[in-house]
């Protein structure tokens, strides 16, 4: 779908506005995002995102196979944060079919989600910093991310496309020695976050590039349905882990990170805080891990009741990720609709960027933290 074709308007001094294509292949669009920009010199007058370059028909693929076979497909939507995608999907299936997950499985799911949150935010920091020009946080954050991916590999066998949850519980238990390794990682982690903050948070160049750039007011954010760190950076303290708790979150203590200015710098601070809070949650989960079974009692062939529907949402690293599943009595879902947080957050990009310079566009795309696999599915 193309934007309305109007001829470029005349601006002051009789100059024309230029239409630029911030193309699908570009080092800083984090995937295949195409932006049609209208620029007046260096100022952006308007911005029109065009998506769909990564569409793979995931929602149709969901309808072709039974519930538990669809879990690998969910890994590949937001490929950076696979565990939270898995969790949203299996949670929706459990809500639909009325399965009750045992406590140990719920704790393991929380552990995996929080580790995934840290990993996703580390990747976000790496790419955001390198877009703004600082090359070294990329390498430091990936050093930590390797440790997290190793933990995942020891648990479920894969580093990125995890396939680590099933409807009803977990497929495998934690291997022996995993808890100690995880604890070692989490104890070391806050000092590493201090290292990244020392490089960036007080740095005057970083502040000049991010303070006041891409301001999103709370009203606009709520109107567009933005969730996650983008909403919390604008002052609205809405976190699904506190508002509608699921899994083991009612039993652990943590704070919601909120800032009030709604610019890029605040969202950066929110995500750094979230990483620290995630480390805190993991420590508590490791201490409180109960014993017991890891898979619920479920029928051999999992069928949804006829004409049933369920919506289940969790707080992923990028925002609220939800699955709406319609069941029709067969083992396959009738329709499975995803509520992708990056898609909703991307809608607000033109609002944030209007009037800023082209160099700020790169910073703003970075702070929106979109993953095109989720936007396009």
């Amino acid at each position: 779908m193309e934007p309305p074709q109007t001829s470029p308007r005349q601006t002051l001094l009789g100059l024309e506005e230029m239409e630029l294509n911030f193309g699908p292949q570009h080092p800083s669009t984090h995937g295949v995002l195409r932006l049609k920009l209208r620029v007046d010199g260096e100022r952006i007058v308007d911005c029109y995102p065009i998506i769909g370059y990564l569409h793979r028909g995931t929602e149709k693929l969901f309808e072709l196979h039974p519930f538990f076979q669809n879990v690998p497909h969910t890994d590949r939507m937001d490929y950076v944060a696979a565990a939270t995608n898995n969790l949203a999907y299996v949670g929706a299936v459990e809500k639909l079919c009325g399965l009750v997950v045992p406590p140990r499985a719920r704790y393991i799911r929380t552990l995996l989600s929080e580790l995934q949150r840290i990993s996703s935010h580390l990747l976000w920091l790496a790419t955001h910093a390198i877009d703004i020009g600082a090359m070294t946080p990329f390498f430091y954050t990936f050093r930590e991310r390797e440790l997290i991916l190793d933990l995942f590999e020891q648990y479920c066998g894969a580093r990125l496309t995890l396939n680590c949850m099933r409807p009803g519980g977990q497929p495998y238990d934690l291997p022996a020695g995993w808890v100690e390794l995880c604890r070692e990682f989490v104890e070391d982690f806050p000092s590493k976050v201090d290292e990244y903050e020392g490089l960036l948070t007080e740095n005057r160049i970083w502040k000049k590039r991010t303070v006041g750039v891409g301001v999103l007011s709370a009203e606009t954010a709520l109107e567009y349905g933005v969730t996650g760190p983008m909403l919390r950076g604008s002052g609205v303290a809405w976190d699904l882990r506190k508002a509608e708790p699921y899994d083991a979150y009612p039993e652990v203590e943590f704070d919601i990170a909120v800032r009030h200015n709604g610019d890029t710098y605040d969202r950066y601070l929110v995500r750094m805080d979230e990483m620290r809070q995630a480390a805190r949650i993991i420590t508590q989960c490791l201490d409180q891990l109960p014993e017991g079974p890891i898979m619920a009692k479920r029928p051999r062939v999992l069928k949804a009741p006829k004409a049933s529907e369920a919506y289940y949402a969790i707080e992923g690293p990028k925002g609220e990720i939800g699955f709406y599943i319609v069941g029709d009595g067969t083992p396959n879902p009738h329709r499975c609709r995803v509520r992708p947080p990056s898609f909703m957050n991307l809608q607000v990009l033109p609002e944030m960027v209007r009037g800023d310079l082209v160099s700020d566009l790169v910073a703003v795309i970075g702070t929106t933290d979109i993953v095109l696999g989720e936007v396009d599915r």
Partner: protein
């Protein structure tokens, strides 16, 4: 070796020898044994040091510790296809890179790498002692901007033109604080000849870095901006929209732009070392207790060359260190910094230095 040189001098006559043959020999030695290997190994040093800053090893496959990497890079760039866009202006396209590289090498002709020779036989370690060397340095550095503008314009591409103009604007706006910062040491030394400035630093017992540290700081920042390096490297940043003036260049021409940037780095560092850090002098040059630092057991001039190289290396390391640490300034913030902060600061420095010199 000295016998050969003396025979040559007797053959052509002293005037011609000291006027023409000796400088040509020195230029040849400087270029082929000094600067060109230094520039190519600076690329390797940058990659290795950036790697170490980023907890990884740099290139280490090609030769031990990657020492043959620059040779591999140069060979690759030499055999690449030489593309000139169809609509480009041919003569300007070819001229662009040369105008960037040549001024850097020309300035190296007046920089003193070592002390002037006391005796007739030993050569002095600089090519020419021009009595307006400082002015010559500033003027020649400005020619480098022409290369960028011509290169960006000749590519006949919207993005190249914009990138070239942005880069040229940045370089011109930082020429002014650079020049003004150099007036500080000029006032203290009372002469524009670079050799004299170093001599004054020896007689005055202190490198100019101490009384003129504001000018030193301004010169460093302006120097980083002049060579388009991080944190002022917006024109070459790939993650910004405009790809820069050297988009359309490939093969050896691109290599020339690239090497020109490194040559610029070396020249800026060399001028800073000469003016602020005492050139070939060891620290505290007139203090008797530290006279062993003069390294008099080495042949005359070699000690000075070693000190000069050590200081130059420190500067180059600092350049690379900046690249590995800082994010990038946005273009308007960059221009703000140059015009609104560095120029008033440089002017204040000149005023202060002049007043102090007048009163003492």
């Amino acid at each position: 070796m000295p016998g050969l040189l003396e025979a040559l001098r007797d053959a052509v006559g002293p005037a011609l020898f000291y006027g023409a043959v000796s400088p040509v020999l020195k230029i040849a030695v400087l270029l082929f044994l000094g600067v060109l290997p230094l520039i190519s190994y600076l690329t390797l040093a940058e990659r290795k040091i950036l790697g170490f800053l980023q907890v990884r090893t740099g290139p280490n496959r090609v030769g031990p510790w990657g020492l043959l990497q620059p040779i591999a890079d140069v060979l690759k760039l030499l055999v690449k296809e030489d593309v000139i866009p169809n609509q480009a202006v041919r003569w300007a396209f070819v001229l662009g890179p040369c105008l960037v590289v040549a001024p850097a090498f020309i300035i190296l002709g007046v920089i003193p790498f070592g002390p002037p020779s006391g005796s007739e036989g030993a050569p002095s370690l600089f090519i020419a002692d021009v009595n307006v060397a400082l002015l010559f340095v500033i003027a020649t550095a400005t020619i480098g901007v022409y290369g960028l503008i011509i290169g960006g314009w000749a590519s006949n591409s919207k993005f190249s033109l914009l990138g070239g103009l942005r880069s040229a604007a940045q370089m011109i706006s930082y020429e002014v604080p650079q020049g003004l910062a150099l007036v500080g040491p000029l006032l203290l030394a009372g002469s524009m000849s670079l050799v004299d400035i170093v001599e004054v630093q020896r007689d005055g017992r202190l490198w100019f870095f101490v009384p003129q540290f504001v000018a030193f700081f301004i010169y460093m920042v302006a120097g980083v901006a002049e060579s388009n390096r991080n944190p002022f490297d917006l024109p070459e940043a790939e993650s910004e929209l405009v790809a820069g003036y050297h988009t359309e260049y490939s093969g050896m021409r691109f290599a020339l732009f690239f090497l020109g940037e490194y040559a610029n780095m070396i020249v800026v560092s060399a001028v800073a070392v000469t003016l602020f850090l005492g050139g070939w002098l060891p620290p505290f040059p007139s203090v008797e207790a530290l006279s062993f630092l003069h390294l008099s057991f080495l042949p005359a001039g070699l000690a000075g060359l070693l000190w000069f190289s050590a200081k130059l290396s420190v500067f180059l390391f600092v350049y690379i260190w900046f690249r590995g640490t800082f994010p990038r300034y946005r273009f308007d913030q960059l221009m703000d910094l140059g015009w609104k902060w560095l120029i008033p600061l440089a002017l204040a420095n000149i005023l202060l230095t002049g007043l102090l010199k007048l009163l003492t």
